[in-house]
């Protein structure tokens, strides 16, 4: 089970992702939530898009029926599987993997989808981290989600450490850019 980590900021941000839900009960006076007037009634079977943390809880208590987020729909999964490297993950979701880990309990195929995606993409990330200033990679770097972007940054730092040390830059103090 992958429950949201209480102190993990990525988990907290990831559960803000919205998921489509179908209301299972009539609600009095919550019209503002459904888009109607403040005091009107919201009826059963109306569709809501709620943040995952709220939807998950309401789903457990049978107030709403949570559906699979469109970013993990079967069609989307098939589309991504065709060429994982060219998927614009960042525009799909900033927290694609973290959110996927949260949703994984509900949709059994998510772990496999994420795994394929991750395996393909980290190889490219590793390649990029080993070369510096690759212009062709720019588009790919733009498409990384948070998890991947952070990994790339860590890798680049680790890769840069050896050349930096070889050129004796590692422990040289330099003037900060704040000072003109």
């Amino acid at each position: 089970m992958s429950k949201p980590g209480y102190y993990d900021i990525d988990d907290i941000l990831a559960v803000q992702e919205r998921v489509p839900c179908v209301l299972q009960v009539d609600l009095d006076g919550l019209g503002s939530a459904g888009g109607g007037g403040g005091t009107s009634k919201v009826y059963r079977n109306s569709r809501w898009t709620l943040p995952f943390w709220m939807a998950d809880r309401l789903n457990e208590e049978d107030y709403v029926d949570m559906e699979v987020s469109p970013i993990f729909s079967k069609r989307a999964n098939r589309m991504y599987a065709a060429s994982p490297e060219s998927v614009q993950l960042r525009s799909i979701s900033q927290h694609y993997y973290q959110f996927g880990l949260q949703m994984g309990d509900l949709v059994p195929e998510i772990p496999h989808v994420l795994r394929n995606m991750y395996m393909q993409r980290i190889q490219k990330i590793a390649r990029i981290a080993q070369q510096d200033h690759n212009i062709e990679a720019f588009d790919f770097v733009q498409s990384l989600d948070r998890t991947e972007a952070r990994l790339l940054k860590l890798c680049q730092q680790a890769q840069g450490a050896i050349p930096e040390w070889q050129q004796n830059k590692a422990y040289t103090l330099t003037k900060t850019s704040a000072i003109p």
Partner: protein, 197 residues
Amino acid sequence: MAITTRQQEGFTMPELEYMAQCEDITIVPLHRMERLELMRALMLKRSNRCRIVAPEWLSYEHLHNLCKREDQPDSMFTKLPFHYLEIAQILLTNAEDDLIDSQGVRRLIQDLREVRQSKTREGLRMLNPLQLQMDNLSIAEINEIRPLFAHSFDMLRRLDELAGSSDVSRQQSQNMFADQSYSEFDDTFSSSYLNPE
């Protein structure tokens, strides 16, 4: 710092003791110093008291052979000291005159590093959450790829756990809805797939 009257008037005894240590004296060495820590050797080297004998692996010929072996397809990592990159760097900067063909050695070390780097990249293809085996990798090289492997291992492990737990929860929910067949349960999922909005 306050200066005492005694210090103004002359030296203190500890100061004199310190100064006396600069006098020469005859000794009988109890060790023949042939092997000692690199750090000490460097101190002696800097004050021109010794010559550093380059390690066997840090010769043009040896490195040339290693390079050739390393370059062969599907070969393992060749055996090098755990700190080879650091030692080579230290000796090339501080004791260049003690190495034979230091320029060649420098070049070969760089070549070796590049070949090995591309090999570790190949190793990523075999990544799985259970184990990763790359023998003879040096500490600097391990350090270089540590974040990549640590994070990807973590992610793969979490995904595998998730895959395992969702299999279990599927079975449980199957038992819970004993009257509802498996395929019906699948239908509920797939219907929501078809109408994501």
